[in-house]
Amino acid sequence: MRPGFLGKATAAAAAAALAASPLGAQAVGVNAAVRNKVAIVGAGTKKARPAVVRERVNLNDEVRTAAASQLQILLLDRTTFTVGANARVAVDRFVYDPARNSRSTAVSVTRGAFRFMSGRGLRSPSGPASVRTPVATIGVRGTIFEGVVGEDAIRIASREAAVGGKVKAKKDEATLIVLRGPGPRATGDVRRGAVDVTVGAATIALDRPGLALYAPRVGAPPIGPFPISMEGLQALQSLLRTTAEPGGGGKKGHGTRDALLGAAGAAAVVGGGLLLGGGKKKGNQQEQEEEDKQPDPNKPD
């Protein structure tokens, strides 16, 4: 791993973060928002601790989320990485030096859903950003994109017409990537975004909002690009969505969530599965029941 460089622009934030952290660990950002059960496994200590808002995130820390849980990490260069339900994520490399106009970020996702939003800390970023999954490496060109790794990727992709249900996939490798924008009709000082997805020897660009690529397993050719369906996007969103929970969220162990939501937020109900088809249980009810079956992310695998 390469050491990072913290520029003057982030010195205050970095100093504040460093002050409250284990000696020697490199801060890459902070927990900007936490919902439900999220644990951070320290790179040095290998001990899991509950994620807390404004607490620093260090290089190689592993984020573990349970069902219906999310974490937004705000990196020092203002790149945002949102970790969805049932995920395992780590920041493997982070270099940010405003004085030299350079930055470089590498994140690995071994399981679960995520959303990447490029930061605008530098107007002319010279360094690359990439997200690595078990089967793909996604090179980021100033954009918002989402992805999911694992069984949820198989479930969502298999319902897409461009993929179908007969593709052989591996549940610990399958990766679905969706570009969200900015597109060619974006407003303002926003560069058009794109990602370059490398799967094996093939590199495929996603350069329009709504384009998706599916890599079912190592050694298999990727499928796409194809336009993600509304149902497919909704299913992916349900893993990253920020909707309220039924019943006021009065379960134990949700102190951080309850503190963030307050009484009104915790009591409200929003239909997280409004656009989901089929006769299955929908939205947050299903999420909540799945959460009850999930292992605690604070415990090792």
């Binding site: 918002i144 926003v190 937020g265």
Partner: protein, 130 residues
């Protein structure tokens, strides 16, 4: 012509004044703190829209919605900004979540300006407790 058209949604969405939260845009910890409250988070997001930092505004609104998932104005603004980055499909999904919730005309005007013709979320049923 196109540039003139773009100014209209930006003017509707952006904050006119610089809030204390907006001044902390370069400090990640301060950004996280600023979005703990609905009002300060919305002000920061509007400021970012005004500065054409659309991705920053989306990230801010995502944090606001983490803390206030039931709130209508931040989700409307989130949908509007998605339109501004040309993610119309994503915007329509967000608007779909607001069915049955009260949407203020002024908030909807901003969405319509950013998105163009999109279906307005169905209003609450009469007699249904909000």
């Amino acid at each position: 012509m196109a540039a003139r058209m773009l100014r209209f949604p930006l003017a509707l969405l952006a904050a006119a004044t610089l809030s204390p939260a907006a001044r902390a845009q370069d400090d990640p910890a301060a950004l996280a703190a600023a979005t703990g409250q609905l009002d300060s988070g919305m002000a920061l997001a509007r400021r970012q829209v005004g500065a054409t930092d659309m991705l920053g505004a989306l990230a801010t609104l995502e944090r606001v919605l983490f803390a206030h998932p039931e709130a209508v104005p931040p989700r409307l603004l989130y949908a509007a900004v998605l339109c501004l980055v040309d993610d119309r499909q994503g915007a329509e999904l967000e608007l779909g979540l607001l069915a049955g919730k009260p949407v203020a005309d002024s908030d909807w005007a901003a969405v319509a300006a950013a998105c163009g013709p999109v279906p307005r979320p169905a209003p609450p049923r009469k007699g249904k407790r909000r």
